[in-house]
């Protein structure tokens, strides 16, 4: 009898706390087109898989009459659950409670679940929806952020960390997502910036809307801060769940294998790539022609489109793909595409995911803006990331591989394990035009008809050097293969590199150019 009374008391307490900021605040949240924090967790996790912790936590602020206020669960929900059976730790800020503002106990809840995730070696998902620091808690609020950033950094490369921006995330708060592996944004809901429109107007006189400053599109297309863009929260949750299937639970395991099916016949690898190296095609079709079920899960689809990155499966095993994209900016390497590719290569390396690279690029992008934007140090990131990576690295040279671009794109010299080239590949120190102009300068200049001599010399050069066989004769290319043999060679390469093991010289950490 006494116990029943206690249980009833628990139910009452729970019921009250589960309402978060109360019905009015929930209505307001919904009016903004947003789900509540708890609804979001339920939508994301497997049914009935969520265990919540710290429901009863209360803030301990005393100043500014805060002692008279109760904030249910201090504005954040934490717990563990599963996604397609994979364990995940999760926190979701509750905007209905004091605008999801981050006080000290709020941050303690977040760091508690972060510590769990690291200790248990499982992915961490953070749903951000917060007005920022709880000003009444002063420096304790800042301390809370700092504790979160520290843990993001320590966990980096050990467990997958996913940030979902489903509301405002401004000021210092942005640095937690920025330190994590993947950032998800939703159109019209996500807002991320260091200083908002009002401050910018006051200080600099520039007027801009929140959406144009730090909306979902801006971070997906311009800044590169976001990795996945969705039109709705539901679409976003679908993307997160799919991502979870591709990645391992931590860096001491491999991703779970999933059912393998052949690529769809509509992606005919013999018909995708034009012979003329100046004509474009969509390299994603090449990837779809070789991955299981033609299922390619692209990352950063709308940013630096001249390089394509993402996951697919080869015979059920998660594989990372990096590919120059000839249909966008001819597939050149530049500041943004180098940054995008390098980070992804390091992700794959950290989490034991083999990397397949498709090469077809004219080289690095020329231009004052590129040089002044630091294409030297950004471009170097690609070299660094490929050289440093110890996961299996397999390279397929489709067409052009000239000069520095050839070296950077997972060449043998950066320790690719297998390098294949299609028969139409042009592997050379530079493009035939440029090379002929330099090597045969005298003949061209002294000719009675320089134009036709130039043409003739370019043709000669093309014939002799713009092919895969010079590189193959040196063993820089392991095999020249037909396009239709690509999947077979790649599956085999991945299978035989399953137990790849190489030793790097001991060091505290390297110094990549970032």
């Amino acid at each position: 009898m006494a116990l029943n009374k206690k249980i009833k008391e628990l139910h009452e307490k729970r019921e009250k706390l589960l309402l978060g900021g109360g019905e009015q605040a929930i209505e307001k949240q919904k009016a903004m087109g947003k789900r509540t924090a708890r609804e979001r967790i339920m939508a994301l996790l497997d049914e009935d898989s969520f265990n919540e912790y710290d429901l009863f936590v209360e803030h301990d602020a005393r100043d500014f009459d805060m002692d008279k206020k109760t904030l249910p669960s201090d504005g954040v929900i934490i717990g563990t659950g599963t996604i397609y059976g994979a364990p995940v730790a999760i926190f979701a800020q509750d905007f209905t409670v004091a605008g999801g503002s981050l006080g000290f106990m709020h941050s303690r809840k977040i760091t508690k679940i972060m510590d769990h995730a690291l200790k248990m070696r499982m992915p961490l998902i953070g749903i951000n929806d917060s007005g920022g620091a709880r000003i009444q808690e002063g420096v304790n609020s800042l301390a809370g952020y700092g504790e979160i950033f520290f843990r993001n950094t320590i966990s980096s490369g050990v467990i997958p960390q996913i940030s979902v921006i489903l509301g405002p995330c401004a000021g210092g708060a942005v640095y937690s997502p920025a330190l994590t592996d993947f950032v998800f944004v939703v159109d019209n809901i996500s807002k991320m910036f260091i200083t908002g429109p009002e401050v910018i107007k006051t200080v600099l006189g520039e007027e801009i809307s929140m959406e144009d400053l730090g909306g979902a599109r801006i971070h997906s297309e311009i800044t590169g801060n976001a990795h996945f863009f969705a039109s709705s929260e539901d679409e976003c949750f679908g993307q997160i769940k799919k991502l979870i299937t591709f990645i391992p639970w931590s860096n001491d395991r491999k991703a779970r294998p999933f059912d393998a099916g052949e690529p769809k016949p509509e992606y005919n690898i013999d018909k995708i790539v034009p012979d003329d190296p100046t004509l474009p095609y969509d390299v994603k079709d090449v990837i779809r022609a070789i991955v299981d079920n033609s299922d390619f899960f692209e990352i950063m689809e709308n940013y630096a489109k001249n390089i394509v990155i993402g996951f697919g499966r080869m015979n059920g095993k998660t594989t990372g793909f990096v590919a120059n994209q000839p249909i966008e900016m001819a597939g050149v390497l530049d500041v943004d595409s180098s940054d995008k590719a390098a980070r992804f290569i390091r992700y794959c390396d950290a989490f034991n995911i083999p990397i397949i690279t498709f090469v077809d690029l004219p080289g690095y992008m020329p231009g004052v803006d590129q040089e002044h934007a630091g294409v030297i140090r950004h471009g170097a990131k690609v070299l660094y990331a490929y050289s440093e990576a110890t996961v299996p690295k397999i390279t397929v040279i489709i067409r052009k591989a000239y000069g520095g671009g050839y070296i950077a794109m997972a060449s043998r010299h950066l320790r690719a394990d297998f390098v294949f080239a299609w028969p139409g590949a042009e592997i050379a120190v530079m493009g035939p035009e440029g090379a002929a102009n330099i090597i045969f300068r005298k003949e061209i200049m002294s000719s009675d008809d320089p134009d036709s001599t130039r043409k003739q010399k370019v043709e000669e050069y093309k014939e002799k050097f713009a092919n895969p066989y010079v590189a193959a004769s040196r063993g820089y290319v392991d095999a020249v293969i037909e396009p239709s043999e690509t999947r077979k060679f790649l599956l085999h390469s991945i299978n035989v590199s399953e137990n790849k093991s190489i030793q790097m010289p001991p060091k505290k950490h390297g110094l990549p150019p970032f």
């Binding site: 006189g205 100046t278 249909i327 493009g431």
Partner: protein
Amino acid sequence: MDQLKNIDTLRLITGHYKTRLSSRFRNRRSYKPEDPRLILSYIPGTIVDILVKPGQDVKKGDHLMILDAMKMQNHLKSKSDGRVKVIPVKKGDKVSKGSLLLEME
């Protein structure tokens, strides 16, 4: 398979490629060498004082005007000896980055 739409030409040394051009590339500003006769605002801000007049002779290093930006009073100095030609701004004006503040003859 997507239709290949909005194809342009990117002219590089290795060839003229049929491809889409990024907005960053299309909107890039072509480089212009710095013109020592022009004083531009290197930061957005407010003109708090103008210390010279058109027609006035100035020496290299002379203070020309004060630009308040990011809570700092920035003294803009003459880059060369010469005569002030035009001052297209006035005290109190808010100026954006790169706008012309003063032109020398």
